[in-house]
């Protein structure tokens, strides 16, 4: 990537987490290609990247669609480390998947070691209202507890699909700008001093 010209738009790395079958891939494909896949095919690890307009600014979004199955739990750490923002997805028709979000949250925090990592709690399949098992209140309570936003989506009807991705990206962007500010003062100087030191030594 470094070979490309500097004008390359900012890249935001989003990671989809959540139990198996909650609709991570469906959300991703709906967002990327306006496509709803009916067939269920467990994901191993998929990667998507494209240019989009975020509030008039051209950015690149990189989506890592991870595996929900326990079989792949071991490789998750690796993936999580590279993520800049997380969409933690559960299915409102399945309580178990909602409970699992707790584990995912913990794992992410452990890997990233950062309480304020951009993070959205997403309750998917909201078109299946009649089969709802997790109440909106329940979910938004947990989100409040974590200090994150809760959004209900439907990959099938594309409800709030764009919203979750764009909200997350805005968070990531805000977060990066903040980091730049704090880092500019210290980080650069530190680097410089270190270098000079080396020369003197």
């Amino acid at each position: 990537m470094s070979k490309k010209p500097v004008t390359q738009p900012a890249l935001h790395k989003v990671i989809m987490v959540g139990s198996g079958g909650v609709g991570k891939s469906a959300l991703t494909l709906q967002f990327m290609y306006d496509e709803f896949v009916e067939d269920y095919e467990p994901t191993k690890a998929d990667s998507y990247r494209k240019k989009i307009l975020l509030d008039g600014e051209e950015v690149q979004i990189d989506i890592l669609d991870t595996a929900g199955q326990e079989d792949y739990a071991a490789i998750r750490d690796n993936y999580f480390r590279s993520g800049e923002g997380f969409l933690c997805i559960f299915s409102i028709t399945e309580d178990e998947s909602f409970q699992a979000t707790q584990d995912f949250r913990e794992q992410i925090l452990r890997v990233k070691n950062d309480e304020n990592i951009p993070f959205l709690l997403v309750g998917n399949k909201c078109d299946l209202e009649e089969r709802r098992k997790v109440t909106y209140q329940e979910a938004s309570d947990r989100a409040k507890q974590w200090g994150v936003t809760y959004v209900e989506t439907s990959a099938k009807t594309r409800e709030h699909v764009d919203k979750v991705f764009f909200d997350l990206m805005r968070e990531i962007r805000a977060r990066k700008m903040e980091e730049n500010k704090t880092n500019n003062g210290r980080g650069k100087d530190k680097n410089k001093r270190k270098k000079i030191k080396c020369v003197i030594l």
């Binding site: 990327m32 290609y33 496509e35 994901t43 690890a45 998929d46 998507y48 494209k50 690149q60």
Partner: protein, 901 residues
């Protein structure tokens, strides 16, 4: 052009070869045939690609390893780009790994030992940290220095954590390392309960193994109860027993084999000795039988076996053998040099000699003796034919002496020699045959000698010597031929002595044989060319052929010239009226035929250039010679014609030739001169005319034909030669015409004056004219006579002869009129009537000059009044009626061609 395809999504992003990948993106074309290329990690995967939609392709990954792009190429949009990358890895199959692949058993053993460190595990970082972007490797040499006897390999006993961290994580931030530590700790904890979970997962196989072990135990216990606790002792005893037995058997066989070998050796030695001592006899026998191959074989064998032996008996035997072999060598060598001998036989002998290690140079000796043989045969051939020639010459002498007086006998003898082939031609033939028979063998012998085919050592310098021999033979051949047929091309002093001289027969005789000679020489030359001789040798012959061709050509032309000269005696003066050229005799046609024949002959024999010959026409000398000869040839016909026309001036007819003046009788003078009835030769005027006609025909037709046929046969005569000849003929034509005119018009004109004043006629007469005067009539009759004479020979000549005569007549009339001193009235009338009549009748043949003379003559005569001129009109009318036939004679023939006169 639409934007290129771009891959924006992969599912999944890694996998072993053959992983089914859903590729998503944009601009993948509008139909499946648009997809013309798909590369995954550099491997072409188009074959497995399945086009689903403009955004989706499903394919299987190829054998590519490591991270790489997925590039889609479509017909319209070209080569695409890729945002995401696929990582191919090669899965290693372990015993614990489910696999759709048949696992070979042999590698499994290897796996058994290393099962603790599966390949995929090594790729993973034990801290769970990404090593991506960690490109800057810590130098290994430094690590070795820092931690001697340690290594970064996790599976090693000397594993050093510091090494490992420096090697893999020297760029990793502290936070990450902390996270890694946590990860490692969790993993270790996980492994503790992992053992249990592993057993749980594989409970089936574990149970199986336990069962198998139990069964084994059962079996073993059963065996122990049957065979006692030490069940293997009995087995050991049996093995030892069988080993002892086997050894016993084997020893027996071995001793027997040794004995057999000894016997065989002894037999061999015996056979060898017998071979040695019997060999002299065997050699003798084989030499007698001519089986030299066997002798050579035995000799080589015996030399190999006993050459180094010091035993005196053997030495004696060997020396005996040597003696015989030397004798054989000598015999073979003599045989080799005895000529003639076929080349195969010679080669065989050479091979024998070489194989026998003879102290000669067999191949070279063979070549030398062969070349000597050729020279000898040349000489023999020469002597044979020379003797033949001498014999013929003697015989001729005898004949001449006995019948020298008789003309007939001379003719007869020359006739004989014409029939008999000249000895030198026979010599040429034989010599050519000799060379073409003998020389190829010599050359082949030489070639096989120098290419090493004869296995003889090629002595340095022999190559040049051989070339010298070849050149000498060829040179001698050419010189001998030259002396036989074209001695004038030889260098007189040096060569004549060497190759002998010949008497060259007459040109007539030799001309017959030269083309035959040329054919012989050419066929020999062809054989030599086929042999692939060096070009220097071939050049000698080709120069000779050129000279010979030149000579041949000039002889042919000379002979033809001679024949043309003979033509003059063959003239029969029979005029042929056939064809477009009437009035010619056979002479020009015969001449043309002769020339055509010689052209054909030359073309056939000399002018054609065969393989590797110098073209005669490209040689300047030859060209000049040919031009000269052709000119002479053509000119000779000129001389023939000339002599035919004028020869009789000197012959016995001169007494009759003086012009006769008494023309008044009106009888042609020729009537008197035809007295010599038994002579075939017609009268002189007739011959003159005939020759003139012939000359014209030759000049206009024959020469053109000849020059055309020269050109057609590939030889363009130089313009100059033709022009020279043409000029000659033209001048001859003119001379002939002049001679004839002079001969004819002089007497004709000369008679006018005497006839005019015959009977003392005076123009001052008083006799009223009643008719034109006799002199005018005579004049017309004479002219008609000339006309008929010319017309008989050739109507075409009339045009050139008569006007000249008429002009002379007109001139004479003018002269006579201007000499008249006085005209009476009647004289005027008479004169006018005469001249007008002549003018009118002779009009068809009047040249403008003649017309002027007539008019001038009329002007001189004093003019008349109209009344007295009527009488002239009357006379003219009368004349027209009376002389109707004469007038018709002159006019119609001029206008309408031949009419019976």
């Amino acid at each position: 052009m639409p934007p290129p395809p771009v891959v924006t999504g992969l599912s999944p992003i890694e996998g072993p070869p053959g992983t089914r990948i859903i590729i998503r993106g944009e601009n993948f074309g509008t139909k499946s045939s648009d997809l013309i290329g798909l590369k995954i990690c550099g491997c072409d995967c188009l074959l497995s690609a399945e086009w689903k939609s403009p955004n989706k392709i499903i394919a299987r990954s190829g054998p590519g390893k490591g991270k790489g792009d997925v590039i889609v190429t479509t017909r319209l949009n070209g080569v695409g780009t890729c945002n995401v990358s696929f990582k191919g890895y090669h899965e290693t199959i372990g015993p614990m790994k489910e696999s759709a692949v048949w696992v070979e058993e042999a590698p499994l053993f290897v796996w058994g030992r290393h099962s603790l460190s599966p390949g995929s595990y090594q790729q993973e970082d034990p801290l769970g940290l990404s090593v991506e972007g960690n490109d800057k490797k810590f130098p290994e040499d430094d690590l070795l220095e820092l931690f001697p006897n340690a290594t970064g390999d996790i599976s090693s006993e000397n594993f050093s954590a510091c090494w490992f961290l420096l090697e893999n994580h020297h760029c990793t931030s502290f936070n990450d390392l902390q996270a890694g530590l946590l990860h490692l700790r969790r993993k270790v904890e996980g492994q503790k309960e992992g053992q249990l979970s592993f057993l749980k997962a594989n409970v089936g196989s574990v149970m199986d193994q336990a069962d198998t072990i139990a069964t084994l135990m059962d079996k073993f216990e059963k065996d122990a109860s049957v065979y006692g606790s030490e069940s293997t002792r009995k087995l050991e005893k049996s093995i030892k027993e069988s080993e002892r037995e086997a050894r016993k058997l084997f020893d027996d066989v071995l001793t027997r084999r040794d004995r057999a070998e000894k016997t065989r050796n002894a037999l061999n030695v015996l056979a060898r000795f017998r071979f040695l001592f019997c060999l002299p006899c065997v050699i003798d026998r084989n030499i007698r039988k001519g089986e030299y191959d066997i002798v050579i074989n035995d000799y080589t064998r015996v030399k190999n076996l006993f050459n180094k032996s010091e035993v005196p008996v053997f030495k004696t035997a060997l020396s005996e053998i040597e003696k015989r072999v030397v004798g054989l060598q000598k015999m073979l060598h003599d045989k080799l040099q005895k000529m003639p001998i076929p080349i195969e036989e010679q080669k065989r002998l050479i091979r024998y000699l070489v194989n026998l290690d003879a102290p000669y140079e067999p191949a070279w000796d063979a070549i030398r003796s062969y070349s000597n043989y050729i020279n000898l045969r040349f000489k023999q051939c020469y002597e044979e034919h020379k003797a033949g020639e001498n014999a013929v010459a003697e015989e001729l002498c005898k004949m001449k002496n006995s019948q020298s007086a008789s003309k007939y006998s001379k003719f007869n003898s020359s006739y004989d020699s014409l029939n008999a082939v000249p000895e030198n031609i026979l010599f040429v033939e034989d010599l050519c045959q000799l060379l073409s028979e003998l020389f190829p063998d010599l050359w082949k012998l030489g070639q096989s000698y120098f290419t090493g085919e004869l296995h003889a050592n090629v002595e340095v310098g022999h190559q040049a010597n051989f070339k010298n021999i070849v050149m000498t033979i060829i040179d001698l051949f050419c010189k001998t031929l030259r002396s036989a047929v074209i001695p004038h091309t030889l260098d007189k002093n040096a060569d004549k002595a060497l190759v002998g001289a010949w008497t060259i027969p007459d040109i007539d005789i030799i001309a017959l044989w030269l083309p035959v000679c040329l054919r012989y020489i050419r066929s020999t030359y062809k054989i030599l060319i086929k042999l692939d001789l060096p070009s220097e040798a071939l050049d000698i012959i080709s120069t000779f052929i050129l000279d010979f061709k030149l000579y041949c050509m000039s002889v042919l032309l000379k002979q033809t010239t001679e024949q043309v000269r003979q033509l003059s005696s063959q003239e029969n003066w029979k005029i042929e009226f056939a064809g477009t050229h009437s009035g010619i005799t056979e002479l020009p046609i015969e001449f043309e035929e002769l020339v055509q024949t010689v052209i054909r002959l030359i073309k056939e024999s000399v002018l054609t250039t065969e393989q590797r010959e110098i073209s005669l026409l490209e040689n300047a000398n030859a060209q000049k010679e040919l031009d000269k000869q052709v000119e002479t040839l053509l000119s000779s016909f000129y001389s023939v014609l000339k002599s035919l026309a004028f020869q009789d001036d000197e012959s016995g007819y001169n007494e009759d030739h003086s012009p006769v003046v008494s023309q008044l009788i009106g009888t042609p003078i020729t009537a008197y001169r035809n007295h010599d009835a038994n002579n075939h030769i017609p009268i002189w005027e007739c011959r003159l005319l005939t020759t003139l006609s012939n000359c014209q025909y030759t000049n206009n037709t024959v020469l053109v034909h000849i020059s055309r046929s020269f050109t057609m046969n590939g030889y363009s005569l130089s313009k100059l030669a033709i022009e020279n000849v043409k000029t000659k003929f033209t001048s001859l034509e003119k001379a002939l015409l002049d001679a004839y005119l002079e001969h004819k018009s002089d007497p004709l004109v000369g008679t006018i004056e005497p006839s005019m004043y015959l009977g003392r006629f005076d123009w001052d007469t008083n006799n009223i004219p009643s008719d034109i005067r006799p002199y005018a009539k005579e004049c017309i009759n004479n002219l008609i006579h000339v006309h008929s004479e010319v017309y008989t020979v050739s109507p075409s000549l009339v045009e050139s002869v008569l006007p000249q005569v008429v002009q002379t007549i007109a001139e004479e009339l003018f002269r006579l009129m201007s000499c008249v001193k006085k005209f009476s009235l009647a004289g005027i009338q008479q004169a006018r009537a005469d001249i007008c009549a002549l003018q009118e009748i002779l009009l068809p043949y009047s040249t403008p000059k003649a017309k002027t003379f007539f008019n001038d003559a009329l002007d001189i005569i004093p003019s008349l009044e109209k009344s007295s001129s009527t009488i002239i009109e009357d006379i003219l009318k009368q004349v027209r009626v009376r002389m109707r036939l004469q007038i018709l004679c002159l006019s119609s023939s001029a206008l309408n061609g031949p009419v019976i006169t």
